[in-house]
Symmetry: C2
DNA sequence: CAAAAAAATAGTACGTTGTACTATATTGTG
DNA sequence: CACAATATAGTACAACGTACTATTTTTTTG
């Protein structure tokens, strides 16, 4: 048995039933090992959550960095967001049970987590500035802070909303729906060039 | 001991520590009754949650209805939203622990809850149409469905975002912040009359 | 290769949780 | 007063997270 196998199975179960509904004994049974053996790899259930969140987070930061290597267009921004959404979808089981995440934060590693959020806000700030400089967005006054706030909330809770009613939402349909909403929001701040870029994205990538 | 007293104390504790972190024994102790007596009023912990959600929901629908009796202006819409936000803030302890809500939904009263969401969407649809007719908003194409989707997600998860990092967010500050974001969003679809109405609201009511 | 050390696995047990059940006390009612 | 209804308390049980110990397997080392 490896940690990797345990995390994989955990994620599947968390996605299926939710973090709170998956017990350590059940997880051990699914892995065909004893509960005692499971605690050898992860002393606490919360440690499984933390490890998965770490995986998720590192994959996410990787995705953000890819935007540095592409042309700063609205279409590429939407592509970036969609890949991030796909990642969130993959980890929805650990992402949604947020009061456990909250508890973990307040008790253990608050600072690290808050740091991630601040970094993400900065990243969005940079991205919107880039899109402005490339002539895709026209931003004035508090437009940037508004868009950053929008992305922070929308980009975090779309998956929660989606799973709140559809126990097993279809990945493509759901993501497509929320990406379209984002595209609309973006269009409200777009130049003509930006609008064309959005339309191009929706034609090629939007289902 | 009355149900009312139990619900009041529950809400305080849920707001302070979160639904999952408050046990039935602790709740009984705080009420100076025995655990057995507590289960006489609420057989299951989930029943306490349900009762509180019912209170919250009925208060909310009441608030929505008040909009029928006022002039359909952007300012009044923002006032309505703020009173709704205040209600959500008051019940944040039951509102945030959403995977328990989710569990309750999937197991028991899915339909009822889904119905509430649909009704709320219709209500927003009506409100935006009213604001259009009164010359405060100019809406075309998929603007209405976009705004409805925006209000649904934003109006549901702002409090979750707020409490995720500030364990005890100050009511006024937090609500004011999110209302300002909504005002900005609204202004993107506003006529001149609508913009003036928003500015008037922010001057009078925005802190 | 054999012995020692390390890593992995299993089993048991403890405290806490939600909650079902029963017994006792209080209140209301004819 | 007597009896029913309501309210309160106490106990107990299954499930949970998890700490602890014992056993087996694997790796390292002389």
């Amino acid at each position: 048995m490896t940690e990797k196998q345990i995390l994989e199975k955990s994620l599947v179960l968390f996605n299926q039933k939710g973090y709170a509904q998956v017990g350590m004994r059940e997880l051990a049974r699914e892995l065909s090992i004893s509960p005692g053996n499971l605690t050898y790899y992860f002393k606490k259930k919360e440690d499984v959550l933390s490890a998965l969140l770490k995986q998720f987070s590192s994959h996410n930061t990787q995705l953000y960095q890819t935007f540095q290597n592409v042309k700063p267009t609205n279409a590429n921004f939407l592509r970036l967001t969609r890949s991030i959404f796909e990642n969130q979808y993959a980890y929805r089981g650990v992402y949604i049970g947020n009061q456990f995440v909250q508890k973990a934060i307040t008790e253990n590693n608050l600072f690290e987590y808050e740091e991630v959020v601040i970094r993400r806000k900065d990243a969005y700030s940079d991205i919107f500035r880039l899109l402005e400089n490339s002539g895709h967005l026209k931003l004035k006054g508090d437009d940037v802070s508004f868009l950053v706030a929008y992305m922070t909330l929308f980009g975090r809770f779309w998956i929660t909303e989606a799973t709140l009613f559809n126990k097993v939402p279809k990945s493509d349909e759901v993501i497509s729906h929320y990406i379209h909403l984002l595209a609309k929001q973006l269009s409200l701040f777009s130049t003509n060039v930006g609008l064309i870029s959005i339309e191009e994205f929706l034609k090629v990538d939007g289902s």
